[in-house]
């Protein structure tokens, strides 16, 4: 459940799948960017980080309707949302799906 506890798993997945083109962007809901800066330096987190210090009232959390963490969005090569996860535990399966082939996952049927 805890974001910090999931950092080792994220690091592992990042190094495993980066060669297949997978990128990670961290958006921290911390109230101070400096905390995030220190933390990522300590833990050796190398993917880009965004933190505007506004926690869940920041523009990006609002855009993605994020009120609690962790909250993960998997985006496919076409730029479409492929999954939303409450934990990194099921992330590898989703990454496998979006990297499995160049074929894009079928768009969900929408008729409105």
């Amino acid at each position: 459940m805890d974001c910090v506890a999931e950092v080792p798993l994220l690091k592992e997945l990042y190094s495993k799948y980066r060669s297949r083109g997978v990128e990670i962007v961290g958006i921290s809901l911390d109230d101070e960017g400096s905390k995030v800066e220190r933390f990522v330096a300590e833990k050796g987190i190398s993917w880009p980080q965004i933190c505007d210090g506004k926690a869940d009232t920041g523009a990006i959390p609002k855009l993605y309707n994020v009120t609690g963490t962790p909250d993960l969005f998997v985006i496919d090569r076409a730029g479409n949302l492929a999954a939303r996860l409450m934990s990194a535990k099921q992330l590898e399966r989703q990454i496998e799906e979006v990297t499995a082939s160049n074929a894009l996952p079928p768009r969900q049927q929408r008729d409105f």
């Binding site: 999931e6 990128e23 962007v25 809901l29 933390f39 990006i60 609690g68």
Partner: protein, 266 residues
Amino acid sequence: MSTSNATEGWILAARRRAIGSRARTEAPGIVKRRLGVCLIALLAPAALVVAQQTPVVNHVADVLRQARQEVSDFQKAGGKNTDPGHPAEKWAQELWKLRDASPGTADAAKATTEAVRLLVYADRFAEVQTRVDRILPEDPAWQGLARVLLDSASRQKSYTYFFAKLQAILSDAKDATTRAAVQTALGRAFRGQGEEKKAEAAFRAAIDLAAHLSPGKEAASQLYELLHLSVGQPAPTFSATMISGAKLSLADYSSKPLVLVFWGTY
């Protein structure tokens, strides 16, 4: 049902409540100022009622705290949902006594909702139905029950009772907040089943009924997710400054799979 699943259920329920309580008017510009005055007018008498009933509220909260503790101890000791004498049964009865002690009040509604929630997370679905079938459409407990019954349907993997019950409440209940709560729960269920048109209609109905109240705000948040954050839709784009000081735009990642990790060092 295994202990870990049951515990997970509690955690999920707690998380959903936490998320619900933090739900804000996510959908752009929904009626914040317009109804501000109206809201104050509505809340003033409600606050008075709450103040008068504080001792009973505390009582419900106390009973609930004991109940959760006992269920948690029961699970830690290896108790299963299939075991007879699950503590949820006893505590649901205790809460029901509080319901009967102050019928129609906010305390009774809270006691009712929590009693049913205890039974749902102990997989006592038959008892859930027996008790819920005795609750009249005008009972304020429906404002919380609608959502608990959705959890129940989801655990039971059967939505037949849920839809029949909530449609019946919707056709009989007159209270706008109750109707909004029912519409919001129906919308969530439709969304879960991929019935997006029906989900959208239900969320819009809830917003029309109670935009400034909790079920309306939840519906607005759900509607936003349905329209903008459903699987298969284009990820909302943004650009921002990274902590390194450099600019980042989502467009920079075109043709690469990307994971956005919302997190915190806390």
